[in-house]
């Protein structure tokens, strides 16, 4: 199959099917309702199950239930809907079962607006639910990358027995780009006998797996949290992904930006280069774990005078960038958060102001 022209939301739905996930439960919300629209037609064609829940809270527990049986399952939502799901996400992390959540972010807080935003960065990377839980969070910058990250998300969720999140902004969901679904990203579901619920041993297994997040004994709960922490530490070792752009030669300013915001920044970097100013960019593809070392090293380059965190939020990624730069350079923030995406001209003007 050659390339087809798809909306990001459609591509995410198709990618999940190609990755072998045939269970999708969701509640519609702009700007990601096309995923449900697409899968409500497509899943029955391939023998899958589409169910619309009565709310996002309900959906998060439908995901939990399906995941507990060892089935690949996912949902999609947008900012307010993810807030409602956060309780279920915490339970899923605590129960150590795999599931995939997609957040196509819109402006907030509250109902906010329906246009693109990256204002759920802190929620996704640091505060998704109560308790010491973390998600592996990937942030696509194109429809192609959204499809590939979705396909990778399922085996990663099974590797860590933990929820994985795709964090896209509204543009990722709504824009159309040519896309293809690489066959080599198809994976077989992992062996679930070790962890999935098996009722009264109906699978012929001689062990009964109890799935729970309740640990009343403080010592046992502490041990449980240490186990979870070990998984998150392992993510730091094994899952960090990023893209460096225009960083081979010297540059005066380093931009850190992710998602579709980084596409605007890339255009700005190219135009600044044409105007004789060298600017490098580091684009986190995983925002948790954050590419701390890569950002730190890029900022440490002798020619680099300033670092800019450019995002469609009020500086939610800024702390991660500052932490990575470790005070070696001043770190500045530029962004907008209302649905208006900063233009390349605005980014250029801001970057120029940093060296004046």
């Amino acid at each position: 199959m050659g390339k087809v022209l798809m909306k990001g939301n459609e591509a995410i739905g198709e990618a999940a099917i190609r990755a072998g996930c045939l269970n999708y439960f969701a509640y519609p919300i702009t700007p990601q309702s096309e995923v449900a629209e697409y899968l409500s037609r497509r899943l029955p064609e391939v023998g899958g199950v589409f169910l619309q829940g009565e709310s996002e809270v309900a959906v998060s527990y439908m995901i939990l239930g399906a995941a507990a049986t060892g089935e690949r399952v996912f949902t999609t939502s947008s900012s307010p809907g993810i807030s409602l799901m956060s309780e279920g996400i915490s339970y899923i992390a605590g129960m150590q079962i795999p599931a995939v959540f997609v957040n196509i972010m819109r402006g907030g807080p509250g109902l906010g607006g329906i246009l693109p935003s990256q204002a759920d960065y802190l929620q996704a990377t640091k505060g998704i639910g109560h308790g010491d839980c973390r998600l592996l969070v990937m942030a696509p910058a194109s429809v192609q990358e959204a499809a590939e990250m979705t396909m990778r998300a399922f085996p990663l969720a099974e590797k860590y027995l933990n929820p994985v999140m795709i964090l896209g902004d509204g543009l990722i969901g709504q824009m159309m780009e040519p896309v293809e679904f690489p066959d080599d990203l198809k994976t077989e579901p992992s062996k679930k006998d070790e962890w999935a619920t098996n009722g009264m041993d109906t699978r012929g297994s001689n062990r009964r797996n109890l799935i729970r997040s309740l640990y009343l004994d403080p010592e046992v709960l502490n041990q449980h949290n240490l186990e979870l922490k070990a998984k998150y530490d392992r993510m730091q070792q094994e899952e960090i992904r990023y893209e460096a752009y225009n960083t081979d030669s010297d540059y005066e300013v380093l931009i850190v930006s992710y998602g579709t915001m980084s596409r605007v920044c890339r255009t700005a970097v190219d135009q600044l280069q044409e105007q004789g100013m060298a600017v490098g960019m580091l684009r986190p593809q995983t925002v948790y774990p954050f590419p701390e070392e890569a950002v730190g090293n890029a900022a440490a380059k002798k020619s680099c005078l300033a670092v800019a965190s450019i995002e469609m939020s009020m500086g939610q990624m800024l702390e991660d960038v500052q932490r990575s730069v470790k005070g070696r350079q001043p770190v500045h923030w530029f962004g907008k958060c209302g649905g208006e995406v900063p233009t390349p001209e605005e980014v250029i003007e801001f970057v120029r102001s940093l060296t004046k």
Binding site: L5, M6, T30, P31, G113, R263, P344, E345
Partner: protein, 230 residues
């Protein structure tokens, strides 16, 4: 070959088939040719990339664009301006109505049945065979039927819009023509015109294309493609 269409044109098709790009570019081309053009953005189902995003271009070209009230432009509410039925009853020499995608988007047309009564209109289905639901003739006919049922109006013509945006090649355009010609044969719907992006035109042999070609200057682009060096 010029595109010979006048009166009311209703643009329908599946999600992402390119209805809005076709609407904007057709409106501007006809206006440049001296025709008075009015456009209505009737996309009540899609929150982004609607005709309203080109309102400045259309206004600068002297094209009247009917929209929901300004304070509701970014709402995801199905707002139908009462002005629309008026513009159908008393159409301009060319009135283009850009409808939302699929049967869901076309449902609004049934609410305008009263205004459409006794009026002839060109109801044209935009087809991009490089989109997943319309990559076969059967798929296009299926969408056609769903739209006609929801709209309670018959489709009576086709627009070929084969493209992969920036990655479109001349070969894609030729294959697209073959596809819509076959669709035209099997459905009995006449092919009104096809589209080709302005930057692709030098590569295309117009003698190989049996119908008019609408040049597309892409308007609905993401922000990183809007850059101009000051």
């Amino acid at each position: 070959m010029a595109i010979a269409l006048e009166g009311i044109i209703v643009i329908v098709g599946n999600y992402g088939s390119g209805k809005t790009e076709v609407t904007i570019n057709l409106a501007v081309e006809k206006k440049k040719a001296g025709v008075d053009v009015r456009v209505a953005d009737l996309d009540l189902v899609n929150p982004y990339f609607r005709t309203r995003e080109a309102r400045i271009l259309l206004a600068d070209s002297g094209i009247d664009l009917v929209l929901p009230p300004e304070d509701m432009l970014h709402a995801d509410l199905p707002l139908l301006s009462p002005v629309v039925s008026g513009m159908i009853r008393n159409p301009s020499p060319l009135t283009i109505i850009d409808v939302g995608g699929n049967d869901a988007g076309a449902t609004v047309l049934s609410a305008l049945a009263e205004a459409f009564r006794d009026k002839y209109c060109h109801m044209l289905q935009v087809v991009n065979p490089l989109r997943p639901a319309t990559d076969t003739v059967a798929g296009c006919l299926n969408i056609r039927k769903q739209i006609e049922t929801a709209a309670r109006m018959p489709i009576n013509g086709l627009i070929g819009n084969a493209n992969l945006i920036d990655e479109t090649t001349a070969a894609d355009v030729y294959r697209g023509v073959e596809f819509v010609e076959q669709l035209s044969q099997e459905s009995g719907l006449p092919l009104r015109f096809i589209t080709a992006a302005a930057e692709l035109l030098p590569d295309i042999d117009l003698n190989r294309i049996p119908c008019p070609v609408l040049t597309i200057y892409r308007q609905l682009v993401p922000p990183w493609k809007k850059a101009h060096i000051r």
